[in-house]
């Protein structure tokens, strides 16, 4: 039986998750000889290594221990060790359903240059905490949006927790950028290079996995801080995506806090405990407001940390490329393929009707709904009277 795919799993001190993971992999419907598993221990100091040594598996299992150097490095090492043409990336806390690998491979059978993105659901408990509700809703909405027809694919769709791609594609774009340390960022970066190379992102809703690791609101704040740093790195590497990043959407309050970084830090530390107080008292609205603000603050702190000063930030914003302009002709109605916009960042859309420009609207990216829907809703909201007169009232008497 030939080897079809290599499953690459980076891990860091989570031997309990790892054990569940190995069990889930031995339950795969894909024949045992058709996949191999490569675990890269990124500076593990717990009993992960013993666990891997002792575990008897009926699939081929390889593991390697590296000095702690981050997930990007760990995954690159994993791919170097892989023997198969298709690489499946799974996070150590993302437990695949039995058919998961099979559905990944089904999409690769034609050998086309595609990346298959699976789903990593969060199981919602019977009585979830406010934080669990927020995280669950975010992921569910995200997967739903990704399946909408006519949606523009973004590099931000490439989440590497449950995804597969050809080894050749991975190597030819240069693999993960190891300068991204800590949480996230490296997958968006790889996603961007893959899209540039022409790799098609295919969303496979049947490749299901379950996200088990418990995080906390504090952990999210830390992640947001790192996202801020990573967005600066991404925007520096690829100036053309700069306009679509959150770090361009600053307000006066943010500018003020950027100039007083110590105050911002103090606010975050001082207000954090209120998350628990509000939750205990059942004040959902206050909790949600505060959590939103804290996430925001943490993100901007990360941006500040990476850039070093408010002045550098201002220069950074000024250097952003201009907003692209798209022409849209409504004479023959709206079709699903009518518009192709530049996926990430704002676009100005000039709307034409029977050879005359009637209006122009600005769409802010990245899109969370199909572009058509977004444009149509904007037009209906802002230009209803005009459109109505052009399209309908000539023929009718309402």
């Amino acid at each position: 039986m030939s080897l079809l795919c290599s499953v690459v799993i980076p891990t860091h001190n989570r031997s309990d998750c790892l054990q569940k993971m190995l069990k889930a992999l031995s339950r795969q419907t894909l024949a045992k000889g058709q996949f191999e598993v490569i675990v890269v221990m990124d500076g593990c100091t717990d009993n992960s290594e013993e666990l891997l040594k002792q575990t008897q598996t009926d699939f081929h299992l390889e593991y390697v221990l590296q000095q702690q150097a981050g997930q990007a490095r760990a995954r690159n090492v994993g791919v170097q060790l892989a023997h198969a043409d298709v690489i499946v990336f799974l996070d150590d806390d993302v437990i695949p359903e039995p058919e998961c690998l099979e559905h990944h491979l089904r999409n690769h059978s034609a050998g086309n240059s595609i990346a298959v993105l699976g789903q990593a659901h969060i199981a919602l408990p019977l009585h979830p905490s406010l934080y669990q509700k927020v995280v669950w809703a975010w992921w569910e909405d995200r997967y739903h949006e990704m399946q909408q027809p006519g949606r523009i694919v973004s590099y931000r769709d490439f989440c590497v927790g449950n995804a597969s791609l050809l080894k050749n594609d991975f190597i030819s774009v240069g693999g993960f950028d190891e300068s991204f340390a800590g949480y996230g960022g490296e997958d968006f970066d790889l996603g961007y290079r893959l899209l540039k190379k022409g790799v098609v992102f295919h969303f496979e809703d049947k490749a299901v996995a379950w996200h088990y690791h418990e995080t906390s609101p504090y952990q999210v704040l830390k992640n947001m801080y790192q996202e801020g740093m990573h967005d600066v790195i991404l925007a520096t590497k690829y100036p053309e995506i700069r306009r679509g990043l959150r770090l361009m959407q600053h307000t006066q309050a943010i500018d003020f806090l950027m100039q007083k970084p110590l105050l911002a830090k103090g606010l975050i530390i001082g207000l954090k405990p209120f998350l628990f107080i509000y939750e205990a008292l059942g004040f959902r609205r206050l909790w949600r407001n505060l959590f939103g603000k804290l996430r925001h603050c943490s993100y901007w702190q990360g941006v500040y940390q990476q850039l070093g000063s408010f002045k550098a930030y201002q220069q950074f914003c000024e250097a952003a490329p201009p907003i692209p302009v798209i022409q849209l002709d409504l004479t023959h109605g709206f079709s699903t393929e009518a518009i192709s916009i530049h996926g990430d960042g704002p676009n100005r859309i000039d709307v034409w009707f029977q050879g005359k420009q009637i209006t122009s609207v600005t769409l802010n990216g990245p899109m969370d709904v199909p572009v058509n829907t977004a444009v149509l809703e904007l037009l209906l909201e802002q230009n209803l009277q005009l459109l109505y007169q052009l399209l309908v009232s000539r023929q009718e008497n309402v």
Binding site: L126, P128, K133, A137, H144, G282, F334, T336, L387, L391
Partner: protein
């Protein structure tokens, strides 16, 4: 609340309203005939969507186009324009009809065979191909419902525990579809009802969908009064509710139980209807609202989808109308007490005070100042009575339940 309707209601003697559906897709017709009625309740449709309802006088049994246009307010006009523009712009797009999930229709009934007959007929007209329909006969006094059900290709079940919620639970356990569509025996459903109520379930976060309920007749004062003072409708635009949009305990805003669909796994997982609530029990109402509350509280989303349309026959006599308003007050406040004491939800206090202030106090104030469209004082007092008695009824229920558990 329909201001125009309320003013017409004040005129004595009461004159019934003729209900007509008017399609405006191809423009306003020259006149709408409402023969035999001096007043008309017009349901305006365009391109398959209900955009508004109007109350107009029709002295000669007809409504002229000019009267219709004059009665249409700015909001209604905007919705109509939106629907028409959307239709013109999207006409080129082929509407991909995605595969709908499997479903079961559950009709809870008690000794109303004539209504049930109409209801089943309309449901069968609204389905394409095979579909599971369950008739739940709640504590039946005779075999009439069973005999009627045998004439249709429906599954008949009997729930001997009296109460609408027990009937709903019985249906949920017996059904096999992924989505449970609940309706009552006193409705007639629209031809596209099932398709439209199922469509929002494409989004995974949607736990339940409620629809638009319009009156099937406005022949008596009680029916018209109920419709113009709120009725079951929740507007003509799609709305998405979750705990970030409204406080979970204001779940009554979401819609009515006569026209709702819920995922079966959630009904069973949260035991949504396994409480002694709603019609046929001491709290008189609130079973559906409590189910919505639990869903919102657990982080799920509920969609109000006005395209899912049913026609409801409101209570005909004033006595049952007053009893129902009393029931809403009792059920509503009992629900808030439950949220506050059993779910430790402080928002219930806020919502309760707000409701009392904006409805009970405001209506009493308006009535005492003799505002032209105020509610009659007798009804307001009955609502106040419900609000005041509600905590005691809730406590009484809790004590009874505690005693039962002890035994």
């Amino acid at each position: 609340m329909s201001h125009r309707g309320n003013l017409l209601l004040k005129q004595k003697p009461f004159k019934p309203f003729g209900i007509r559906t008017v399609d405006l897709s191809e423009g306003v017709p020259d006149f709408v005939s409402v023969e035999g009625y001096e007043r008309a309740f017009l349901v305006l449709k365009a391109c398959g969507h209900v955009v508004d309802t109007l109350v107009v006088e029709s002295p000669d049994g007809r409504v002229e186009a000019s009267a219709l246009i004059e009665a249409l307010d700015a909001e209604g006009r905007r919705r109509l324009q939106k629907v028409l523009v959307r239709d013109r712009l999207l006409s080129k797009v082929i509407d991909e009809r995605p595969a709908l999930p499997s479903y079961s229709v559950i009709v809870c009934t008690r000794d109303r065979t004539q209504d049930l007959d109409n209801c089943l007929q309309s449901i069968l007209n609204s389905t394409q191909g095979a579909c599971e329909i369950l008739v739940i006969d709640n504590d039946p006094p005779n075999d009439d419902t069973k005999d009627l059900a045998e004439h249709y290709s429906v599954k008949y079940f009997r729930e001997m525990k009296r109460g609408l919620n027990w009937a709903r639970t019985c249906g949920a356990k017996a059904a096999t579809g992924d989505i449970l569509i609940y309706t009552d025996d006193d409705v007639v459903v629209d031809a596209e009802w099932i398709n439209n109520i199922l469509r929002p379930f494409k989004a995974p976060r949607v736990a339940a969908v409620t629809g638009l309920t319009l009156p099937v007749e406005l022949e008596s004062h009680a029916q018209s009064f109920f419709e113009f003072y709120g009725g079951h409708g929740r507007g003509f635009e799609r709305k998405f509710f979750d705990y970030t949009v409204i406080p979970a305990c204001a779940a009554g805003l979401v819609g009515s139980g006569a026209n709702m669909a819920i995922r079966r796994e959630l009904v069973l997982k949260h035991k949504l209807f396994e409480q002694e609530l709603d019609a046929g029990t001491r709290t008189l109402s609130g079973g559906d609202t409590y189910a919505y509350y639990q869903l919102l509280d657990a982080g799920h989303q509920i969609v109000y989808e006005p395209d899912a349309l049913v026609w409801h026959r409101h209570r005909r006599d004033d006595a049952s109308l007053v009893h129902m308003l009393y029931g809403y007050s009792v059920g509503g406040f009992a629900l808030l007490m439950r949220c506050l004491f059993e779910h430790k939800d402080p928002e219930a206090l806020m919502v309760g005070l707000q409701w009392f202030k904006q409805h009970h106090i405001k209506q009493l104030w308006r009535s005492l100042r003799h505002k032209p469209d105020a509610m009659p004082l007798s009804m307001i007092l009955k609502e106040w009575l419900g609000a005041i008695l509600s905590p005691w009824i809730y406590m009484h229920n809790r004590c009874l339940a505690a005693m039962r558990d002890k035994r």
